[in-house]
């Protein structure tokens, strides 16, 4: 069995109530050490108030070749954006 430390993906919640955001990855022997290392590597300047760590091996990603079938259908559905609908100025702000 390899002695190389597994890779972890690091997610940090910033100061202003936003979602946890992926900031990068690091190696650590276990989850506890991954949180400690993430503190040192990714929050040296007050970047966060909360840390999530997830083993990279546990992430299922969409494949680049699926890009078309997955995301192109949204292209033609412009009516999902509010600017698709013209509202007369007289109506006021909507």
């Amino acid at each position: 069995m390899s002695k190389e430390w597994p890779l972890w993906e690091i997610f940090i919640r910033g100061q202003h109530g936003l979602n946890h955001r992926h900031v990068g990855s690091l190696h650590a022997p276990d989850a506890e050490m991954a949180v400690l290392n993430a503190r040192d590597v990714y929050t040296r300047r007050n970047e966060g108030v909360s840390i999530w760590v997830v083993r990279s091996a546990d992430i299922t990603a969409s494949s680049p070749s699926e890009k078309g079938p997955l995301f192109e259908p949204a292209n033609s559905k412009v009516y999902r954006h509010p600017t698709f609908f013209d509202i007369p100025d007289e109506v006021g702000h909507m």
Binding site: P29, D30, R44
Partner: protein, 330 residues
């Protein structure tokens, strides 16, 4: 520049490219980012591993000349600042190793290549840091030269590299400014302190110019890397920019750049300056600089001395996992 003389591939003309390679080049020309799982030419992958790996190694080895002064910093505040800077270098190394690993090489492989002398780090870190003024000159000149190179690399075509560069650039400005602050203090201090500052500039000026790599006319690896947008500017272009930026800063300090040929050239809107001694550069790269053996020796020793501890943490993690779910023991 923390990556020097990165070996690239021969440049292919459009006709020599396969359809896949043409489509790839088109994506880069359109300014799209290339992401880890996407198709890329083998040469692109290999060149990036060499370049990002060398860059990461430079950050890590770059901790050593400064680590030398942590216990000897003149005040507690200076010590805390230097510690924070050296810790940043470790962080920068880690961002870059992670980016490099997305190309299909492991962290341990990169370490082994460095320790076996099969991958390089920047030549600048093979020079000694003899006095406290060197901490000032390193921050001011070495980090200054690194920033010159790293700012344009934020726009590089490889997504993970670009993101690492953005993060690094945010933090790097502190490094240069703390260095310049040390130089200001020394240069306005006693005559002996000013002399130390001048001496540091004298010793580190040419090695800093070497950081950008050999002159464009001798730079054989540039064309392909530039068309792939993993090198954004030529070596001479960045070196010129660095000199133009740094000379007025030296003047402000009342220090003299150790180059009698240095002269403002109105026509080109920049300084004329002397080239560094390139034979010295190649000699340092070949392993014969003043500190090559010390630097690599310190890295190898840290890696080997820490092996039992790294392994211990893995053993602990496995035992703890086994206690939680006996089935997960293997």
């Amino acid at each position: 520049m923390y990556a020097q003389m990165v070996k690239s591939e021969g440049m292919k003309s459009r006709d020599e490219m396969s359809a896949e390679e043409q489509a790839f080049q088109d994506r880069i020309d359109r300014g799209e980012k290339i992401e880890p799982k996407e198709w890329m030419p083998e040469g692109y992958r290999k060149t990036l591993i060499r370049q990002i790996g060398q860059h990461a190694h430079s950050e890590i080895v770059g901790q050593l000349p400064e680590g030398n002064w942590i216990t000897r910093a003149p005040t507690l505040e200076r010590k805390a600042i230097l510690l924070a800077k050296v810790q940043d270098e470790a962080g920068h190394g880690l961002y870059l190793y992670s980016a490099c690993e997305t190309l299909g090489v492991t962290r341990d492989e990169l370490m082994e290549l460095l320790h076996a002398g099969k991958m390089k780090y920047s030549s600048i870190f093979n020079y000694p840091t003899l006095t406290w003024a060197d901490m000032g000159a390193v921050g001011w000149l070495v980090d200054g030269a690194a920033i010159m190179n790293q700012v344009p690399l934020q726009r590089t075509s490889y997504g993970p590299y670009s993101r690492a560069m953005i993060r690094i650039c945010k933090e790097e400005s502190f490094h240069q400014r703390q260095g310049y602050a040390i130089m200001m203090k020394m240069a306005s201090g006693t005559p002996a302190q000013k002399k130390m500052a001048q001496d540091a500039l004298n010793r580190l000026w040419y090695p800093s110019l070497m950081m950008f790599g050999p002159s464009d006319k001798d730079s054989v690896h540039s064309a392909q890397s530039m068309s792939w947008k993993i090198k954004m500017n030529s070596n001479d272009e960045l070196r010129q920019k660095f000199v133009d930026q740094t000379v007025p800063q030296a003047e402000y300090l009342g220090l003299t750049v150790p180059d009698p040929a240095l002269k403002w050239n109105e026509d080109k809107g920049g300084y004329d300056f002397s080239e560094p001694d390139w034979s010295e550069f190649y000699d340092v790269l070949a392993g014969n600089g003043p500190c090559n053996k010390d630097r690599l020796g310190a890295r190898v020793k840290a890696w080997e001395d820490g092996a039992w501890f790294r392994d211990g943490l893995v053993a602990h993690a496995r035992k703890a996992a086994a206690r939680r779910t006996p089935a997960a023991a293997e």
